[in-house]
Symmetry: none
């Protein structure tokens, strides 16, 4: 680390290669902590948007290069940075860690200069435009304190990684690459395959039938919108861990089909799902933000949203998020505002007084 | 209908059999519209809670009996009500409509006195305690204007059903029972099986691995928490429509496993999921519409959203949806507006001229 910031691993400058969702979210969060950030990408438009979002400028001699691009480009990207600056240290955030470590062990980068990490956060929408500085808030962020076969990683690089993880609001979790890859096969890669295969069944469907889709279908298929190129790479890299899980799923599906075909009960199979679901810790994905949801029924006509937000401004409340539900031909729509519990109460009282159709927060 | 409320199907009293989530939510909403509601259930505690929630009293001679219990109890519950009051009309809200209609056609109830309906709303948590009067707001609510084989349903019963659906904020959608059952197999029953089987894979897992679970696993398995008894009944009742879908899923899973086993690309299978996912209509419940997404970077301070919507109003564009991304401590927020392609262009030009930080629509 530079002599100005020797404590606790804090660093002053970073170059982030890969201006997608994760790279840009890291950049946004570090920039807000005063770190000089340069965003790069093989797509200049993506890099421009990312740099624009954090009003950043090129960094002459970054202390750290963080790689947030496709894993197939890891080795060459890091090697070309290292060629220009032999003092560099490297961090990556890829989804399959044995592969990252293997690539680096076969590169010109000294393995002690590479810290493998993986933030357990993401969205089904990619790109800098979807980035958010709080993406990692309260999430686990795995890191490997040693390389393949227990090879050492520089202590100050580990310290830098830990500082970054904590500065971004995440919880550092130390794991071996092997345990990490086993865990993500179960909690991330298997759900991805399941969602993609489920969503694929909708392709040929009559659009009229899909008009009946509700929250269940939307939630179970949300991550099916994820990038095919990205996931092809991830799933292939982790096939050794993923395949046994898929074969178990296949066996359960066969049992289900057999039972349904002979009108036998499938209750125990649904119950097995109840039990599995109950094993997932925490209701909200870590100690995620707890918002109150305030439903407001509005007339479905232009200007209503502006009027509603004028009310929010005059009540001096901070709207964190919102959803809009309405159907063509229906005269009303439902806006659900997400706010702090206190702001929800203030706004409910304010809107009620002004004659809005507002429901109790939940 | 009673002579007091002959217009538009409005009725003054109802007995709801089944004090679970759906029945109680309907009761709450009707009670708030001034209808006298009596809640009943084979579980007296559930009925008591439901009646308490809406401060209701027994109704001497209800005009309508709405059945919201398990489908296995439909026939006997309706017959015992009909025995006491031959003027009764019946509505149900079960998930598989050919079965409801078949049960009634084999009962002592005249088929023209039975209106089969299905509100497309629910939660993975059940029971009166989870009920909400706004559960149906802006949702589709299917109804069958004719019985099996096109047998007629009383016009005033249809009118009563339509009044109720609209009074609860939902959009009535007329369908045949056959089309309904085909649609829900795809948009509701298949996702349920997929989520249950996925969640079942977590049962034996090391809890430490599950600590890494993120939003993807939570969303894909949310509905796996649903009642096994309820879903056993629903899935069995609709096995004719569900089985072909499960067999197609099984075939795709086999292909996926085969590809992964020989390190072949699975990109096209993930893409098939992208395509299927894209067919799901927006939150609006209407036909799938293609919106342009316009990202606008705003200062994270009160009044900015109102100012932005004032601009939308003055540009005379119609905002269909929006998302807000920002976090405490971040100096900018990103609003992504969903509009028609034409409106997105108009608004981009308008906002650029007014000095907003607006990015290219995508």
């Amino acid at each position: 680390m530079s002599p100005n910031t020797p404590q606790n691993g804090q660093f002053a400058s970073i170059k982030i290669i890969g201006s997608g969702l994760i790279g840009t979210s890291i950049g946004l969060a570090l920039a807000s902590r005063g770190v000089s950030v340069e965003m790069a990408d093989i797509d200049p438009n993506a890099a421009k948007l990312a740099n624009d979002l954090m009003a950043s400028a090129p960094v002459e001699q970054p202390e750290i290069v963080l790689y947030a691009g496709p894993s197939s480009g890891l080795k060459s990207a890091l090697e070309s940075e290292f060629k220009v600056n032999k003092a560099l240290k490297f961090i990556d955030i890829g989804s399959v860690k044995t592969k990252s470590l293997l690539e680096v062990s076969q590169s010109s980068i000294p393995t002690e200069r590479f810290l493998a990490t993986h933030p357990m956060a993401g969205r089904e929408v990619g790109g800098a435009q979807s980035a958010r500085a709080d993406l990692f808030q309260s999430r686990n962020w795995i890191y490997m304190p040693a390389g393949l076969g227990g090879s050492p990683v520089d202590a100050d690089l580990i310290a830098a990684g830990l500082w970054m993880i904590q500065a971004l609001g995440a919880s550092p979790v130390s794991m071996t690459a092997e345990n990490h890859d086993r865990a993500v096969a179960l909690v991330s890669h298997l759900p991805q395959v399941s969602a993609s295969l489920l969503a694929a069944q909708l392709r040929g469907a009559d659009s009229k039938l899909l008009d009946l889709a509700g929250a269940g279908l939307r939630d179970t298929t949300r991550i099916a919108a994820s990038s095919a190129a990205l996931w092809d790479e991830i799933l292939s890299s982790n096939s050794a861990e993923l395949l046994p899980l898929l074969i178990s799923l296949q066996s359960d599906l066969a049992t289900f089909i057999e039972r349904l075909g002979v009108s036998a009960s499938v209750s125990d199979l649904i119950e097995a799902g109840n039990q599995g679901r109950a094993k997932i810790p925490g209701k909200h994905g870590g100690a995620a933000r707890e918002y109150a949801l305030l439903p407001v029924v509005i007339e479905d006509k232009p200007g209503q949203l502006a009027a509603l937000f004028d009310e929010c401004a005059s009540a001096e409340v901070n709207v964190e998020d919102l959803t809009i539900e309405h159907s063509p031909g229906q005269f009303t729509g439902l806006i659900t505002l997400a706010l702090s519990a206190k702001d929800a109460q203030i706004l409910q009282a304010h809107l009620t007084k002004s004659g809005w159709s507002v429901h109790a927060p939940r």
